[in-house]
């Protein structure tokens, strides 16, 4: 009984694996006719519009440069990413662009790649203790400061503020939070009355903001460490968003920019994910050709408000 059910599980698993392998292969089929150098883009997750835009930017640049781009998605799992990087090292890969799930966990796999003289470009997050060819990233701390300045301007440099934090312990949350705290400290008449996590998630932000407004009804400003949470906060505020309460987000996603256009979101700090992807490909091409590349390439973060939102909307 036991062994037969085990066999059944094994059979089902094997079939499922085969089907999946088949569909993945079909998906890749379009890349076959390209004859350019093979570049692997190992991305942390495609569950997030930010990384989807990063991928789109990279793909567009790759098509233009005639690069045969292979995209692998680690689904936010460091172990999966390690396997994917090992596979990349074994193939005919000319360069690897890695967006690490975890800056520490990726260092061993990246070490193997660099040992094999494959240029590695980190994008958005760095890889610790690795001989990276280059790092393309936006400055989250500076962005947090800009967000504080925008929020202070919107509030007339006085009032009380709620800060919605991202997933506890992530570098994005740490850096943006640290930048914001530093920035807002420059305005003595603004006090941060509550700092709570909403896990970078719109639904959580809706609930958390609703609860926080209950305890702090006089709040006139909300800073969210990403646009998804800012949009959740706006949902919680209803008609008060943009009139009585100014909301500032981070990321510059499509939904965030729309909210700026309609006035419910005061500002967002736009990273330029497509630009991150595009630059990474550009650097990879340079590295493959043997040209010198800069060790770090900072990508500007830009405060987007109603006045310049037109430059960002796609």
């Amino acid at each position: 009984m036991k062994s037969s059910s085990f066999r059944r599980i094994a059979a089902v698993t094997a079939t499922a694996a085969l089907i999946l392998a088949g569909t993945t292969a079909c998906g890749r089929g379009s890349g076959d006719e390209a004859s350019g150098p093979k570049v692997v883009l190992a991305i942390s997750t495609l569950n997030n519009p930010f990384f989807v835009e990063l991928r789109d930017g990279a793909q567009a640049a790759a098509d233009e440069a005639g690069v045969d781009l292979y995209i692998v998605d680690a689904q936010n799992d460091s172990a999966t990413q390690a396997n994917q990087l090992a596979t990349a090292a074994a193939g005919s890969t000319k360069a690897v662009i890695v967006n690490p799930v975890d800056s520490d966990a990726a260092s061993a796999s990246v070490g193997e790649l660099t040992a094999a003289n494959i240029p590695v470009i980190a994008v958005d997050r760095t890889v610790n203790d690795a001989k990276l060819t280059s790092l393309v990233a936006s400055d989250n701390v500076a962005g947090g400061k800009q967000a504080a300045d925008e929020l202070a301007a919107a509030m007339g440099e006085k009032g009380t503020v709620i800060s919605l934090q991202g997933v506890s312990g992530t570098s994005a949350s740490r850096d943006r939070g640290a930048g914001f705290d530093e920035g807002i400290a420059a305005y003595p008449e603004i006090t941060v009355v509550a700092e709570q996590t909403a896990n970078f998630d719109r639904a959580s932000a809706l609930d958390v903001t609703t609860n926080l407004l209950q305890a702090n009804p006089g709040v006139t400003g909300i800073f969210a460490e990403n646009d998804e949470m800012a949009l959740g906060a706006i949902q919680a505020l209803g008609a008060r968003a943009g009139s009585e309460v100014s909301v500032v987000g981070f990321d510059g996603t499509a939904d965030g920019l729309t909210a700026i256009s309609d006035g419910s979101l005061y500002a967002t700090v736009a990273q330029q994910p497509a630009e991150l992807g595009r630059l990474a490909i550009e650097l990879a091409v340079k590295a493959i050709a043997g040209d010198d590349v800069e060790a770090t390439v900072p990508v500007e973060v830009v405060a987007v408000t109603k006045t310049n939102v037109g430059d960002f909307s796609k």
Binding site: S5, R8, I9, V12, A16, L46, N47, N48, P49, F51, V52, Q165, S168, V193, A194, E195, Q196, T197, D201, R202, A203, L206, D207, V208, T210, N211, L212, Q214, A215, E228, L231, G232, Q235, A254, D255
Partner: protein
């Protein structure tokens, strides 16, 4: 979940300690909720306000509806890890039906429910006919459903139909999520207590072999149970999407754990055959009131996770205590 055990026992020598233990064991969740509420009323004046209670009602709706479906599965002796992912898939499919397939809003709404139902039927069939343990079958569904959600959405949020958004809105002064929560509770409670199907769930969960030998169509019951869990998950997903006016690719991630916690806190046993909708509702309230209270008190997010973990441990401890008192 209460009345029968509060009447004093006739065995005078052990009466006092016996009553106290049984009462606590059978009403642990309710007692916990009351203690929690009293503590919060003392700690912050913002807790006991009409608006905050309304907020709690809205916030509990999603997890409670998910947990009602989970109650059927756990009572029948299974587990469903896929409810969060199925909720997200149903909402996303509904958004896709509306935006990309151009279906009218009400059809997109029903389409979303059908997707959840179908996912549930597949779970049930894999468990009953494919002989996969429910843990494995639904773990697979978790991954497949979340993956399909991303495939449909390409990782981006999709706008929902106005009919779906209505689920997250108000009728007059009453928030729709609360209305749906009450309706779902009544329906779920009716199914579990007043129908042959409901009684059969207890029988299957208590002892599947005995249920089969006494002529119950165990396999069909299991499929129906998972189908119901899928349907309730879809409703919860649409509710969540309605509140956000959009279906999110990462919506309801990890909610299966909240749902299981709510059911267990509510007094169900993970070994099956035990559990009530009222208990599950109280369990869901406990989770939501804790989160609400910790927000009101501005407790550090690091500690919030610790507190919620401790509450779940306490609740499972009560489950163990209950089985002990039952056996003694």
């Amino acid at each position: 979940m209460s009345t029968t055990t509060t009447t004093p026992s006739t065995e005078t020598p052990t009466r006092r300690s016996f009553d106290y233990k049984t009462f606590l064991a059978n009403n642990g969740a309710l007692v916990g909720l009351v203690v929690l509420c009293i503590a919060l009323v003392i700690a912050t004046p913002d807790f006991l306000t009409g608006q905050n209670l309304l907020n709690i009602g809205i916030q509990v709706s999603t997890v409670a509806v998910l947990a009602f479906g989970m109650t059927f599965v756990i009572v029948a002796g299974g587990i469903d890890l896929s409810v969060g992912a199925v909720a997200a898939l149903s909402a996303m499919a509904s958004g896709w039906f509306f935006v990309s397939a151009g279906l009218p809003g009400w059809m997109a709404l029903i389409g979303g429910l059908v997707v959840g139902l179908a996912a549930g039927v597949i779970n049930g069939a894999a468990n009953a006919y494919g002989k996969l343990p429910s843990f494995i079958a639904t773990l697979a569904m978790l991954s497949v459903a979340r993956g399909l959600t991303l495939v449909i959405s390409d990782g981006r949020p999709i706008k929902t139909a106005p009919e779906v958004s209505f689920l997250g809105g108000n009728i007059g002064p009453v928030p729709m999520p609360i209305v749906i929560l009450v309706l779902a509770a009544v329906v779920a409670s009716f199914i579990l207590n007043r129908t042959v199907l409901g009684r059969s769930m207890y029988a299957v969960g208590g002892n599947a072999e005995a249920a089969r030998l006494s002529g119950l169509p165990v396999k069909r019951i299991i499929v129906t149970v998972f189908a119901l869990a899928g349907l309730f998950a879809a409703l919860a997903g649409l509710l969540l999407a309605g509140r956000l006016d959009s279906a999110q690719p990462q919506a309801a991630a990890g909610y299966e754990l909240d749902a299981i916690a709510a059911v267990v806190i509510g007094g169900a046993s993970l070994s099956g055959g035990l559990g009530k909708i009222s208990g599950t509702f109280i369990g869901a309230l406990v989770l939501v009131v804790i989160r609400n209270g910790l927000n009101l008190l501005n407790v550090s997010s690091f500690w919030q996770q610790v507190v919620i973990g401790l509450v779940i441990a306490l609740a499972v401890g009560a489950d163990v205590l209950r089985r002990k008192t039952r056996n003694s």
